[in-house]
């Protein structure tokens, strides 16, 4: 299992009020993304655990692109990967940020 940690400042705080959200499933070719609104300011942290070793550069490119496009400031994002392709990773990250803007249920 390879672990990666990527940290960047986003352009702004992530929209919405949901304290956390989970999207995706740990299944072959898929991944789960846990987003938590726990960081100060516009910092964004992404923690990745992946069984596919040696793809650090691709992960970095996908995540930097995501932070630039979606401005997920204040979010700590934790990923359990199960061999997802880069486009699936981008999709799940975008879904996650959108879910953080939805009303949380009690």
């Amino acid at each position: 299992m390879e672990t990666l940690f990527i940290q960047r400042d986003a352009a702004q705080r992530a929209p919405g009020k949901s304290p956390h959200a989970l999207v995706g499933v740990v299944a072959s070719g898929n991944l789960e993304v846990l987003l938590e609104r726990v960081l100060d300011g516009v910092r964004c942290e992404v923690h990745v655990k992946t069984p596919a070793a040696g793809f650090g550069e691709v992960w970095r490119a996908v995540i930097e692109d995501f932070i630039e496009r979606h401005a997920p400031g204040g979010l700590r994002i934790s990923i359990n990967d199960c061999g997802a392709r880069p486009d699936t990773v981008s999709l799940r990250l975008a879904q996650g940020v959108r879910l953080m803007t939805m009303e949380a249920s009690e």
Partner: protein, 312 residues
């Protein structure tokens, strides 16, 4: 813990994730998760095998409302390691059932547990602790029922309810199943591996469904309700079962079930395949059961005494 849930896009129970099923099953905005993903209660064993973990260990437990009634709910994610029972996964379900057992008598407490089973059984990487987890769940389930709690299994996911999951379904007060759902103990591949393809050909999908599938289970009475493969259909079936009254869990109920099982064995024990059973039951559409639409099938099932005497 507050939790935003994504609704299912297709509405299909089979296609939905465990969280999507809960989202569509319960009243909107009522789900409250216990030990959710931010608690990171992950398996302590999978890392030893260099396998990926899930933040909820493949099961979501919590409370919510079903048409205003307080209920407890557990949903297995069949796509994470086949929905298997690991140590943490099992402990979450044991905790939920013990909570039901201990708190059902209070005025606002849940008196029903909905088990959204989607599992191949024990997680083999966790071996003995997985087996122990299933044993503890069965005990907790039986204790909850004995205390007067209704425990309803909902089966219609990709993994079905096999191994310990099949035993658990059989221990429930009632079972709801869809055509896609399957319940049994040994899965088709397991039987084939141990007994040979002549005994059971796991690649023969019609055979697999004729033997373990939802329509067969419903007609034999192993499932008390049949749902279309829609989340709203499972919701309606669960509600109807709760409204229709739950059998007492006592010696008399068990003795009646034992007598019905003995009678079933005597009547159908020599049958080689499910259609032979339908013929002996004198079903009008015995040869076409697999092809019947959900509504037509439901009418036939509801008219069959054998299908409604609730022996697993």
């Amino acid at each position: 813990m507050k939790n935003a849930l994504v609704p299912s896009r297709t509405g299909s129970w089979y296609e939905a994730t465990a969280r999507e099923r809960i989202s569509g099953l319960l009243d909107a905005g009522t789900f409250h998760e216990f030990l959710g993903p931010t608690a990171r209660a992950v398996s302590p064993h999978l890392a030893l095998f260099d396998l990926p973990e899930a933040f909820d260990d493949g099961i979501i437990v919590g409370r919510g409302k079903l048409q205003g009634r307080a209920v407890l709910v557990a949903a297995q994610e069949g796509r994470f390691m086949g929905g298997t029972f690991g140590e943490v996964h099992g402990a979450k379900l044991v905790g939920l059932l013990r909570y039901a057992r201990d708190h059902h008598a209070e005025a606002t407490s849940p008196r029903a547990v909905l088990l959204l089973l989607d599992t191949g059984g024990v997680r083999l990487q966790e071996a003995n602790v997985g087996e122990l987890a299933v044993s503890e769940i069965i005990r907790a389930l039986v204790e909850a029922r004995a205390a007067g709690v209704a425990v309803i299994a909902l089966v219609g996911g990709r993994a079905g309810a096999f191994g310990g999951g099949g035993i658990l379904a059989a221990c429930c007060s009632r079972v709801v199943i869809s055509e896609q759902g399957r319940t049994s103990v040994s899965g088709p591949e397991v039987i084939e591996t141990n007994m040979g393809a002549e005994e059971f050909d796991s690649l023969d999908r019609p055979l697999v469904w004729r033997t373990t599938g939802g329509k067969t289970r419903r007609l034999l009475g192993g499932a008390g309700a049949y749902a279309a493969d829609r989340i709203e259909s499972f919701r309606a079936a669960a509600l109807a079962l709760l409204d229709g009254g739950i059998p007492a869990f006592d010696l008399a109920t068990l003795a009646r079930e034992q007598a019905r099982l003995a009678e079933r064995l005597e009547k159908f024990g020599a049958c080689q395949d499910a259609p032979e059973i339908w013929q002996r039951m004198r079903l009008a559409d015995a040869a076409r059961i697999a092809d019947l639409a959900d509504e037509d099938f439901n009418q036939i099932a509801q008219a069959q005494p054998e299908a409604n005497h609730d022996a697993r």
